[in-house]
Amino acid sequence: MCLGIPMKIVSKKGETAVVSSGGTRREINIGLLKEVETGDYVIVHAGFAIERLNQKRAEETLDILRQIGP
């Protein structure tokens, strides 16, 4: 399943990080990402962070969506 959910990096140590979303916490591997910092949001799939979520772009997308229609 390609489902991946955005989760926030709460702490990191070497190639692992603890992420959190909606009350769930889990430990994941961040070895597929070049750099990632505490406070970043990442897409979590099968125990790994597969990409960072660009928060600025997320807000821009929501702004565009809010302006659609009358």
């Binding site: 591997n29 597929l32 997308t61 969506l65």
Partner: protein, 360 residues
């Protein structure tokens, strides 16, 4: 949940729906294919069909990795599970998929050691904790998942874990899309492109669509993402444009995740693969490279291909290509249900038949 809930806003969904309906209004029909099973799931779970105009059809494509895993693979996995010193580890979806004569579920009832894992790294830990057993991980999934399995193999190699191996059935999305377009079974006007496969391979990976004169939009998996993606597709299609656009740019970049691609290429190489329903597609699978052959279950256990037997009346092949709907299948909801599936489309939670059954 942040960056999830905002993209499920019903008011904005209705505004998008209105916009799509206005732009698509007219005599023209629009047939778009969404490739990824997770998109199929969103479409039915959030009842997006009710928000789209009658003349716009969204067809489910073959992007369900469990659904397209062919029966010989399941047969081999079931046979491995029957061996006394083997632990088969797998993602949950695979357990009930029927092979020619058995399934992992059935092997488990006969005493086979089959364990569902969330991550391939969990499988590695099982290998560490059970040194006298051979632990095999069933590597099923597209470009989103394959890099994570590559990481597990690299970790196994680094830590010299000798009793761990992967049986790869990994597949690639772009060759499957090309195969569908070249078969000309469908008259398509464009593609809703996968979200997380694209986060790995990048939006540029779909530039081949230009050759077919078709637009493609990478769309996220939330309802507003899909609707905005469809809106962008309709706009392109109506004005005769054929470009790759990226609705999901909060995660997907044009180049993709280069590090993940590099790790994938380090461990795997493209190979020919058999897709249930689509047949053999050259260069569409991933095989473990020779330098990691110790972690290749196919080589270690000398697994061979057996003959495929398709259950009579099973339409999974056509459903996977989007030519037929589950409701066209004689077995749907009768002999074939989630409790007793006849084909993979009913087993996997991303399978079209399973989704139609759940949300009917």
């Amino acid at each position: 949940m942040k960056y999830v809930d905002e993209f499920r806003n019903l008011k904005l969904a209705k505004k998008l729906s209105q916009e799509i309906n206005e732009i698509a209004a007219g005599d023209r029909r629009y047939n778009f294919m969404e490739v990824c099973g997770t998109h199929t799931n969103t479409f039915y779970r959030f009842e997006l069909k009710s928000l789209l105009p009658e003349n716009l059809r969204l067809i489910s494509g073959p992007g369900c990795p469990v659904c397209v895993t062919d029966a010989p693979y399941i047969d081999n996995a079931a046979a491995l599970a029957g061996l006394r010193d083997v632990i088969v580890t797998t993602f949950g979806d695979m357990v009930k998929v029927p092979g020619s004569h058995s399934s992992l579920y059935q092997e488990r009832t006969k005493g086979g050691d089959i364990r569902v894992v969330y991550s391939s790294l969990d499988s590695l830990e099982i290998a560490v904790k059970n040194p006298s057993k051979n632990v095999i991980f069933l590597g099923v999934g597209f470009e989103t998942t394959a890099p994570t399995i590559a990481m597990a193999i690299l970790e196994a190699s680094k830590r010299k874990i000798k009793n761990f191996s992967v049986y790869s059935a990994h597949k690639l999305i772009p060759p499957a899309m090309k195969s569908i377009l070249e078969s000309k079974d469908m008259a398509l006007d464009g593609f809703v492109l996968p979200a997380h496969v694209s986060s790995v391979i990048g939006a540029n990976a779909y530039r081949f669509l230009k050759k077919f004169g078709l637009p493609g939009v990478v769309a996220g998996f939330e309802p507003l993402d899909m609707l905005q993606g469809i809106l962008m597709l309709v706009r392109q299609s109506k004005s005769g444009r054929a470009e790759i656009e990226n609705q999901y740019n909060r995660v997907v970049t044009n180049a993709g995740n280069k590090k993940a691609q590099h790790i994938l290429e380090k461990v795997f190489k493209p190979c020919d693969a058999a897709w249930r329903g689509l047949g053999d597609i050259p260069g569409s699978g991933l095989a473990i490279r020779n330098e990691f052959k110790d972690f290749d279950a196919g080589k270690r256990f000398k697994l061979k291909k057996t003959r495929t037997i398709v259950p009579k009346y099973c339409l999974c092949g056509e459903v996977i290509k989007g030519i037929k709907m589950p409701e066209d299948c004689k077995l749907f909801c009768r002999a074939c249900t989630p409790d007793s599936p006849k084909g993979p489309c009913m087993v996997s939670s991303e399978g079209t038949c399973s989704i139609h059954y759940k949300y009917k």
